[in-house]
Symmetry: C2
Subunit: 442 residues, 2 copies
Amino acid sequence: MNDDRKAFFADPGSLDLSEYVVLDYFFESTLEPTEAAAHLCQEQSTAQWKRVGVDEDMRPLHAARVIDLVVERTPDRPCIPFQLESWGTIWACRVKIAYPIRNIGASIPNLMTAACGEGAYFSLGIHAIKLHDIIFPAGYLEQFEGPKFGVAGLRELTGVYDRPLFFGVIKPNIGLAPEPFRDIAYQSWLGGLDIAKDDELIFDTAWSPFEKRTRLLGQARRDAEQKTGKKCCYLANITDEVDRLIELHDIGVKNGANMLMINAMCTGLSAARMVRKHTEVPLVAHFDCVAPISKSPYYGIHSRVITKLQRLAGFDAIIFAGMGARMKNYRSAVLDDVRACGDSLCVAHSDSSGRSAPCPVKSALPVPAGSQWAGSLQPLYEDIGSIDFAIVPGRAVFDHPGGPKAGAISLQQGWDAIKAGISLAEYARGHQELEASIRQNT
Amino acid sequence: MNDDRKAFFADPGSLDLSEYVVLDYFFESTLEPTEAAAHLCQEQSTAQWKRVGVDEDMRPLHAARVIDLVVERTPDRPCIPFQLESWGTIWACRVKIAYPIRNIGASIPNLMTAACGEGAYFSLGIHAIKLHDIIFPAGYLEQFEGPKFGVAGLRELTGVYDRPLFFGVIKPNIGLAPEPFRDIAYQSWLGGLDIAKDDELIFDTAWSPFEKRTRLLGQARRDAEQKTGKKCCYLANITDEVDRLIELHDIGVKNGANMLMINAMCTGLSAARMVRKHTEVPLVAHFDCVAPISKSPYYGIHSRVITKLQRLAGFDAIIFAGMGARMKNYRSAVLDDVRACGDSLCVAHSDSSGRSAPCPVKSALPVPAGSQWAGSLQPLYEDIGSIDFAIVPGRAVFDHPGGPKAGAISLQQGWDAIKAGISLAEYARGHQELEASIRQNT
């Protein structure tokens, strides 16, 4: 290896890893892998490390460095059906790159530029690249606020300690005036729904002004608490232009919305962090614009990275694409996102110590989404192996043949069946809300 | 077609298209296309259009509607190597969907949620989908500020009316202190560079504080203007957390940075729009985090859509992935982005009237990027067919063997050769800066 290339490699033992974020990429190249990986580091950091005619070198302090490189395969043809018209040998690799924090600081846009910028996706000889993981030193994480409430705070707010949380998407939403919208949300709270939520597609509009909607639902939420003796949450969607987010936060909170949602990748993660610094209530992320970045197995950014960044930005709960025919997700991908919410951000996803290793950033509640109902609880509970998650049905609550109250009751009955160790069908006898839900969903 | 499905279709002649944004998708489905397209509209808008037990219908006012659907092929196998494990008939389609503006308002995050949200990417029976184009009615565009300066304003600012603009990325950058950084920028202005720019990876850091960097370069820019009699621009990168953007804008402008850059998809488009409402100088977008969204031909969002949204957010110049081995771009994709900067946003990209149709949003200057030098001018000029573009070399100016002044001179000589109708090699005789550049780059 020539000296110029060597400058972009390091023995991890020789680096002070508290000063580096570690980026874990899959890439496929038509260049010999050490050369391709060196180019990748160079493009991401000190593309030109000296002035003309000056004897200097910026690389010792500022270069990104390969700390691990594994050639996984030498496939016969490219993994993606584009970009390459002809090829000789192809190498499919995994590379871990230590990226100097001194280049970027504790700033999400700067970090994203380094990890997902021109340098990463336009490097000589690399035709396919996907950022699979990102690992942070504890000292770096301490510079971020992270979730204000986290899982423990959400349990305190909802008063639910012994089961998964039940979100429900108030439906219909688009086109429905605030008064009837309030009425159906109120019914769901009477049925025991923990968190009635705005759809991600309902904004501050003429037919449902945010001020009025949150005022009516804030009052209804308090009324339901009075009536049921149970804590109730209204999750209002504040997604809008960035310069309106703080205003909408303040209106919502004043009016009684006690959780707020942001379609994070549409407003931007940094805007969410700005709200986090200001917020008095838990923040929930919705997954719009995540699929186009993350769905290709060989290009883009793994959804676990997006989930980790959302947690870093300060979301207390993260809604992401879950199981089911409509979602077309691999089970493993859903569980990757679940773990990204709870595992330590200081260790790699492949490191089984992730669950127990300390992490200065609180855990976020994972909320796998997609056409759920009472019957979605059992497989998720088994897969996740913990009650620290939520489901977020829409139709199963708000299009339940018995109405939203019955729909909400059916969720609790679904969980009761699990706790009783009885099949859903068996438990449904004598529990008509669950019985109707089974008929609706199977 | 059953009535429920019919509600998501419309004859475009029967709709008031001034009330709709038109979304143009490629999709591939395992469901019969009209059914798949109806589901797509439903997921994107009125997923549930009535309350239980109430005779109502939100769809007439609020449903997204298919206004055009073409089955392009029925391929033997899926276009993407994921998501489907088995299949029968597959349909590859183009669909135009009219999306009601009343659902979203003139808000970029709301628009992105509708066009690129859960609804678009998680619709029953559709395993591959890419947003190819977006078309706006004039009245909608009038609610956006758009570029403050546009191409005409940039020409006025630079005083360059008769050729493409020359940006240059000041290199080295990462790790270089503000004083030497200033010195090399100053040299490039003496050589006639129009716009010396911060790299997208240089931020407000301890080793190059933004305040000091912009103060030194702002002064050097004015000095160079004095010395050369030519207008000079310093494009400073203000990319950082959203709640710092206005502060950095103000510091930069006060210190003499007369153009500002934002890594738009890393800070978020809406944050850029916030800066646009405030800015006194032209804004330039850099293309970090665009490739992971746009590169797959069968999934995600076409780069022309990202370019259009950046223009809508108010960028006066848009840097995107251009030609060359490192960029691995199709020529047509580069020209798509060029046209998205200049064509009317009111007509489809496939409509040749785009160049002449009126558009309430100013044109942005297209800046195709990637390892450029003087020799990049001719093919781009021929492809674009206009002088309204810019190049943005780094090494060709700042690693030129004769230094940054000679590097900048070589660009002008490259253009002079074109104007003289002489080959670069021939013109290089007697023009030593160009001669050295040819040796460096070929």
